[in-house]
């Protein structure tokens, strides 16, 4: 087994996997960032926004969460591929667009999916903030933004972190689906490697190991984040 692993890594697949891991991280981190942005905005709209807008957010979260992620990537990719390639022709940026279009679709898709989950996570977290905490901020004349940054987000973070962690772990797995648009992330690297080297078991073991490393690493970051965000909040009486 060990021999096989060494042979695989020597044969250049080590690099392939590293590039795959970088791609996985690149897409999932940016996707998650987009998702958190959508999540916080969507949750505030659902709780405080005008009715028509919060209705729109509900439609988005319901549909995006309900249909398979692969379908979303499919629709995003093949739904836009024609117009994007025409746009590329028109702007003479074919190369650039061909090169970055898949990654953009990947990030957008992961972001939209993670965003739809995040909306609900943040909505629950926002509701858990005692109203008095926000009133105290209003009473000293804080602006909407200041209240958001100084009170709402710090307190919400503590309530939202467990749910966010889930969204992140899900987003990380979902990046495997972007192989569809031609990006080589960890799982696709394993699949290609399995085909080329005829060692499926070893290849998927390496892929699983990489996912697990990323998973554990991010888990550790979340533990630290919870410790930080929980200062003073843990024993709120």
């Amino acid at each position: 087994m060990l021999e096989t692993l060494l042979r695989i890594l020597n044969d250049g697949w080590g690099w392939m996997f590293l590039r795959g891991a970088a791609m996985t991280l690149f897409i999932s981190v940016l996707g998650m960032a987009l998702g958190v942005l959508i999540g916080v905005t969507g949750a505030s709209i659902k709780l405080n926004g005008p009715r028509w807008l919060s209705g729109l957010v509900s439609v988005y979260t319901t549909i995006t969460r309900s249909i398979p992620e692969l379908l979303i990537i499919y629709l995003l990719f093949f739904g836009s591929i024609h117009s994007v390639s025409q746009l590329g022709d028109f702007l003479q940026l074919e190369e650039l667009i061909n090169r970055w279009f898949p990654a953009a679709v990947g990030i957008l898709a992961i972001g939209l999916v993670a965003g739809s989950y995040s909306v609900e996570v943040f909505r629950g977290a926002l509701q858990a903030i005692p109203t008095g905490q926000i009133e105290a901020a209003k009473a000293i004349g804080m602006s909407r933004w200041q209240r958001l940054w100084r009170v709402v987000i710090p307190q919400m973070t503590w309530f939202a972190l467990p749910g966010c962690n889930n969204v992140w772990q899900t987003a990380l797995k979902d990046t495997a689906l972007i192989a569809l648009v031609g990006l080589v992330e960890i799982m696709r690297a394993a699949q290609l490697g399995a085909a080329a080297m005829r060692e499926p078991l070893a290849m998927y073991l390496i892929a699983g190991f990489l996912f697990f490393i990323i998973g554990i690493g991010s888990q550790a970051l979340f533990v630290i984040a919870e410790k930080y965000a929980g200062r003073g909040m843990r024993a709120v009486a």
Partner: protein, 246 residues
Amino acid sequence: ATSYKIGTEGGYPPWSMVDAAGNVTGFDADVGAALCKKLDADCQFVVQAFDSLIPSLSANRFDLIISGMSYTPERAKRINFSLPYAVEDAIFILKADTPAIKADSAESIYTDLAGKTIGVQGGTTHGAFLAKVAPKVNIKDYETLDQMQIDLDSGRLDGTFADLTSQSRFLKQMNTTDYALTETVIKGSSDPETLGYGIAVGIHKDNADLKARVDAALCELIEDGTIKSASEKWFDIDIANYDACK
């Protein structure tokens, strides 16, 4: 010279594989290289998941598909196909003591299989074919051949139905006497409507000119033995379709 981009799956041995440096190898790669030489073109492979090959071709992300793709009427609604340059026969692996192993006609195999559970690879033509000719068979679809083969190993299946090439390779790997290939091979030409007309090159619908040139080039490749030698190199047998150009 003109240049073409060729879409291929990359993860489907021995048809299409990529090595760590990104070079495409396999039967498809050899056919593709030979074809480009004949067309006097520079070619570049684009590796992409099988499911997205046809839509990507439609969107002009590449010019040709060479990826062990069977020519079926349904696919032909979306893209053009070249002549089928190769045909593959299909075959069953069954328990060695099943009478169907020795059956001398396809029909008697089908009747024999009634009520049995047979694995096929999802997304291939074999499932649809089997469902049509042997409706009493219990069909299980697998994502990959590997999974299907593991399940046969673990005793959840009575048999599998797939390409002759992959079946014989698998049986060799299994190294067992419990299972065997049926003596009767299911000819690809027996039901082209369902089993497909054979392996062909995918071309964009609007590009009739390219289709004509590819067809001509493929005929030459079949005639001069290039396909045959590539086939024997990768499959140990000759799957070149000598009827294609007649």
